[in-house]
Structure formats: C-alpha cells, structure tokens
C-alpha cells in the first residue's frame, strides 16, 4: 500500500476524534484540610474563595474562546476543591447548562478524597460531564507520612473510605495520583501490589519542587537518577506481571505509547503545553498552569478584567511558547527530543531559575525511555513469526 493511502487511512480513522480547546485548571480555593509535606502551592498564591462573578467569567470566557468545534475541559483543582461544597458544583452545572447546548464542555475534579460523600457521588453520577481523580501515596504506612490532616493524623482511612464509595458507582472515575518522594521511592513493589490488590489505576508523579516541598527539601527530594531507577523497577514489576493488564500504570503506559507513535500526549512532554493549558486562581488571576500559581512573573492578568485574547498575548506566555528543544543546550542531539520536548517548563524553572533549560527529571526520562524501548523490542522479537 502506498504511503499516501496509508496516511490517508490513518487520518480518516482519526477523524472522529474530539478536537480539544484549552483545558482550564480551575482553583476555586487554595485552602485545604490536609497539610501534605510536599504541597506545591506557593505562599504567594491567591487566598480566598472564587466568587460567583469570577466563576461565571471564567467559564463563559474560556468556552466562548474555544468555540463550538473544540471541547473545553475544566479541571477543578486546589487546594481541596470539595471544601467548596456540593452547592458550588451544582452552580457550575447550572452555568454550563445553557452553554452546553451549543458548546462541548467536560469536567474533572482532582480531590484528596477525604470529603467524598454519597450526595456528591450522586451528583457526579447524574452529571455525566464530571469525573473524579484522587490522591493516594500508597498503603497506610507510606501515605500517612506525607498526607496528614492539618491538625495531625493520617488521611489514609478517609481516602480509602471515599474510594470504597466510588467503587459502588457505575462511572465516576477514581484513578489516583501517587507522589513519589524520598518516603516511598524505594517501595515500588509495595506501591504496585497495593494498587493492584485494591483495583486502583495509578499514576506515579515525581515530586514538584515548590511550596512545602522546598521547605522539607532534605526529607522529600528525589534525584533524577533515583526517579529513573524507580520508574524502571516499577515498569518491570508491571510489564512482567501475568496479570499486569488488569491495572493502568502511568506515566509508563503513556510513555510506551509515546515511544510507539512518536507523538507525546499530555502536558509534560508536549511541544506546546501553552497552547493547551491555562490556570485560573480563586480571585481570577490567570497563570500558564496550576504549578505556576503565585509566581508573579508568569501572571497573565485577571480573567475578570481581560479578554482571553489579551491574557494570551502576555509577554511571559510568549517567552514560554518560544521554549523548545532547538533552544535548549543538550536537547538537540537527543534521540528522544521528539517525544520529550525538554519536559516540563515548571520543573526546569524551579530548579534552574529560568525556563530555557531542560526538565530537572531529564535523566529519569532518558533512563525509562531507553528501558521501555528495549523491553518492547525484546518482547516483539521473541514473537516475530
């Protein structure tokens, strides 16, 4: 089959895929009932809670900007978004109801899971444009070391209570993010076995070095090589488990997909995350993404007093858009630049003080890319007819 026909067939098959507009990381509050030792929220991040005016402006302006053809996805984040109460989410549904007749809208809620209750799950189950993501750092003895209540005491039992409630429902989401720190990085096997035994899909995110993580630097921080070895050990545990297909393990599954297609998904390895993500804080301040909240040099302005076009024309965004593997020393000869794109801008900035540097975890990525590529090739070569 000629190349043209193959590519035409692929593009035809991909044709029914939803087009995506900006994903908006909405932070109705930076307050939280937990005091996680690595919380990345900077002290300079906005205080207070989101007003009705800011909520309406944010939803309407972004949805209209994305237009009828592109879906707008809101991620309700924080702080702890469920501190806002179920009324807040019913309000969101009502604001989106009319817009939803003409525009495509979906919602995710990223919660610590401690405040989940049947009423909220009823709401999510009825409103099919919402789904949940939680945070859980592994079994009780690991999780409680990092994710405790402000008044003290681990949150593990309450999170698991929330997950049990989710399991009783048809479709509300419920995958978790586990943050990898010095506390749990040597426990890849325990983490995997725990999540698998509890039928919980998980994503192992490395520590973000800002906020509380910087205050607890010696206790929390992990080196790029440590994280690389962790990912390799986790991959082997999952990949060679005869029942490994029963659970999704990220970022490994996505990295494998990125290696195969040569086309990265998501924000971390995106060539232009700045064309896909934006963050709005409790008072309406707009930043490149949720990780930058409170860092004034990256503030685009306020959603209440600006059009989206004006906000996106901010010079600091232009600086971020110019970042690429062509401008960063060491990326040019890398065989993985096509699927890495120098990694996360924030990870580069927080360690190096500037955005035109490689992601702090560059070494980790190279280690796991190499490993997965070899593992897949070996597996296939064993089976070639």
């Amino acid at each position: 089959m000629g190349r043209f026909i193959i590519l035409y067939a692929i593009s035809f098959y991909m044709g029914d895929k939803k087009q995506k507009g900006f994903t908006v990381i909405m932070k109705p509050t930076h307050s939280c009932n937990l005091a996680c030792k690595y919380c990345y929220i900077e002290e300079s991040a906005e205080k207070g809670v989101m007003s009705q005016t800011t909520l309406e402006n944010s939803i309407e302006k972004i949805v209209l900007f994305n237009g009828e053809e592109k879906e707008t996805h809101f991620i309700w984040h924080g702080g702890e978004p469920l501190l806002m109460g179920i009324d807040f989410f019913e309000n969101i549904r009502d604001i989106q109801k009319n817009l939803g007749k003409k525009y495509k809208i979906s919602n995710g809620i990223q919660t610590n899971g401690t405040l989940l209750n049947p009423d909220l799950l009823d709401f999510i189950e009825k409103n099919r444009d919402f789904y949940l993501g939680l945070s859980l750092d592994g079994p009780r003895e690991l999780h409680n070391q990092t994710r405790a209540y402000k008044g003290g005491g681990g949150s593990f039992d309450d999170v698991m209570r929330g997950i049990d409630l989710i399991k009783e429902r048809e479709r509300v989401g419920g995958g978790v993010i586990a943050v990898i720190t010095q506390i749990n990085i040597d426990h890849f096997s325990e983490l995997y076995n725990f999540f698998k035994a509890n039928h919980i899909n998980f994503k192992a995110n490395p520590l973000i070095r800002s906020g509380e993580a910087n205050k607890n630097y010696n206790q929390m921080t992990i080196s790029p090589k440590q994280y690389g070895h962790f990912l390799i050990d986790l991959f082997d545990t999952w990949f060679y488990d005869p029942e490994g297909d029963k659970i999704s393990v990220d970022p490994l599954e996505k990295i494998a997909g990125n290696l195969i297609t040569g086309s990265p998904v998501g924000c971390n390895y995106s060539k232009s995350c700045q064309n896909n993500f934006i963050s709005i804080g409790p008072l309406g301040d707009v930043y490149p993404c949720g990780r930058f909240d409170g860092i004034q040099e990256f503030k685009y302005g306020n959603i209440n007093s600006n059009s989206v076009e004006n906000l996106l024309n901010n010079p600091s965004r232009k600086l971020l858009l110019q970042r690429g593997v062509e401008t960063i020393e060491g990326c040019s000869p890398c065989e993985y630049k096509q699927i890495c794109n120098a990694g996360c801008i924030h990870n580069a900035y927080m360690v190096n003080g500037q955005v035109n540097e490689k992601d702090y975890y560059c070494t980790s990525y190279k280690m796991i890319f190499d490993h997965i590529k070899k593992a897949i090739k070996k597996e296939i070569n064993l089976r070639v007819k």
Binding site: E253, T261, I380, R383
Partner: protein
C-alpha cells in the same frame, strides 16, 4: 531533526514482519490496544482490533498534579 513519518517509525521500532497476534505479553497487548496507538498502527497489522477507548489527551496531567 526531520520528524519520522508513521511508516518509518513503525518499521524502525518493530521491524516489518511483526503481527500483533504474535504478542503474548498481556501488558504489551494492553498498551497496543489503546485507541491512540491503535489508530496509529492499525494499517500495519492485519488483525488489529479497533477499540472505542476514550482518546486521552489529558493523560499526562493525571487529572491534576497532586
């Protein structure tokens, strides 16, 4: 670097004679059954299943950072 097109990339990574039906590793089969990869590869393997998984453009965000 010139970006590889689909055909070049698949051949480089897998070779030309691979068929999905020969892959026994359940995790690798799961990885390949993802719609994104399915869409990319389906013309290269005769027996590639076409699943209706949600296209996961937000995958890397978890859905949130923490």
């Amino acid at each position: 670097m010139k970006e590889q097109n689909c055909e070049e990339r698949v051949v480089k990574i897998f070779g030309e004679e691979v068929e999905k039906r020969n892959i026994q590793n359940p995790v690798l089969r799961k990885i390949l059954d993802n719609q994104r990869i399915n869409s990319f590869l389906f013309k290269y393997w005769d027996h590639f299943d076409k699943h209706n998984d949600t296209y996961e453009v937000y995958a890397d965000l978890g859905i949130g950072d923490y």
